[in-house]
Assembly symmetry: C2
Homo-oligomer: 240 residues x 2
């Protein structure tokens, strides 16, 4: 009993994040709690999803960080996004296509099977949450493409830090302007299409400019406004 309560507590970040997408009705909340009791715990470097393999069933990340990665023959690696508590792994509209990327645990990770929404989609808040999660994943992918294609190293890091912070806030893991960032500079480099050396130098520049504090896995945003002003998306212009 005590163990179960503890486990439920560990799932709270994931549930918090899903609830930030859409209010969940009591049945769906209960289904989530139930599913989270049958969790898997894995260590860093464990491959939760293998690129090219068929996706069996969607998983729900309960705690820890993971990332999407593609690796080229010569060893170059691209990390295309991170998975945080409440994110879904292999959340495709059933069918079972081959996974485009590998999903790899970055920290100790716990996950469970994502509970299936009720047959009647209309009344399932869970189906809605999954759909919205997929939609926000798409937003992040598009934003990442713009980041890689059109932003300077400085801008990339700034924009990316803000995205990570916003996502951590959604699952209650960011306290104000401060949040954990359990990544090496090499991982950041492989995410942002840079080298670890250049990430290091750019981070130093950001520190010098008084924009952020970064040390040993923690980040503190000092000048939020300056960071945001570095990258702003154009308000859509109706042309039709």
């Amino acid at each position: 009993m005590n163990a179960n309560l503890n486990k439920a507590h560990l799932a709270s970040a994931a549930i918090l994040r899903l609830r930030s997408l859409v209010p969940l009705n009591p049945e769906d909340l209960a289904a989530l709690e139930r599913a989270s009791l049958e969790r898997c715990e894995v260590s860093p470097r464990c491959e939760l999803q293998v690129a090219g393999m068929r996706i069996k069933e969607p998983l729900l990340l309960l705690s820890g960080w993971a990332y999407h990665a593609q690796v080229l023959l010569d060893g170059r690696r691209q990390i295309s996004g991170f998975l945080l508590p409440g994110d879904l792994i292999g959340n495709c509209q059933h069918s079972n296509p081959a996974a485009a990327t590998s999903v790899i645990a970055l920290t100790p990770v716990s996950f469970c099977r994502a509970p299936m929404p009720a047959r009647d989609h209309a009344t399932s808040s869970l189906a809605e949450a999954y759909a919205l999660s997929a939609a926000t994943d798409m937003h992040h992918l598009y934003r990442h493409i713009t980041r890689l294609g059109r932003l300077s190293a400085f801008e990339r890091i700034a924009d990316w830090l803000l995205e990570i912070r916003q996502r951590l806030q959604a699952c209650g893991l960011a306290a104000g302007t401060e949040f954990p960032l359990p990544l090496t500079q090499e991982v950041i480099a492989d995410t942002l299409g840079l080298t670890n050396v250049h990430v290091n130098r750019t981070l130093q520049a950001m520190r010098r400019d008084g924009l952020v504090e970064i040390r040993s896995g923690r980040v503190k945003i000092l000048d939020e406004h300056a960071l945001e002003s570095l990258v702003q998306y154009h308000p859509p212009t109706v042309t039709l």
Copy 2:
């Protein structure tokens, strides 16, 4: 009647592409033919979807090229992908989230409403096709991220040309090694995170090397093998 036959013919590329994803049963084929009769024709630069606006219903591209774009405040533009006949616009698992990108016609484009799959998803080949279309869209996005983050200009263009060619083949618009490419070098640049000047120089290098022929909107792949060998994704290594 003749007009309808002609219209049906124009939809063939889109239908061909959808059938390449999954065999379509007769009812779904009929639904597609029917939907394609009520088409819209728009000119280049027309905005089919506006970033930030809510998506109403999915559309099906019947003919022409369009692209996903994000524009920054200072005018920098990132094209995150192209839409070809048979591609869906706003193909999210219902709900109506805000569009992450604008979708803009590049050539004269015709599209129609994407017919809704039958309620009973299990027997609907259309639902399967849409799901697979969404999955391949995801693949393309991930591949594009890797392209932008980790490939050189030369490799980016090579890899991207091969992707475009493969997609055009799926809708019957590529004849062997040759296919249309109705894009300016500036559009290619905004797609691949380069400048138009550098795209121009890199294309010249590819011509010099005897890899491709590119002129006035047409491409001919001369040395397919060499292009493919430039970029190869790592076969997944099972680590679990």
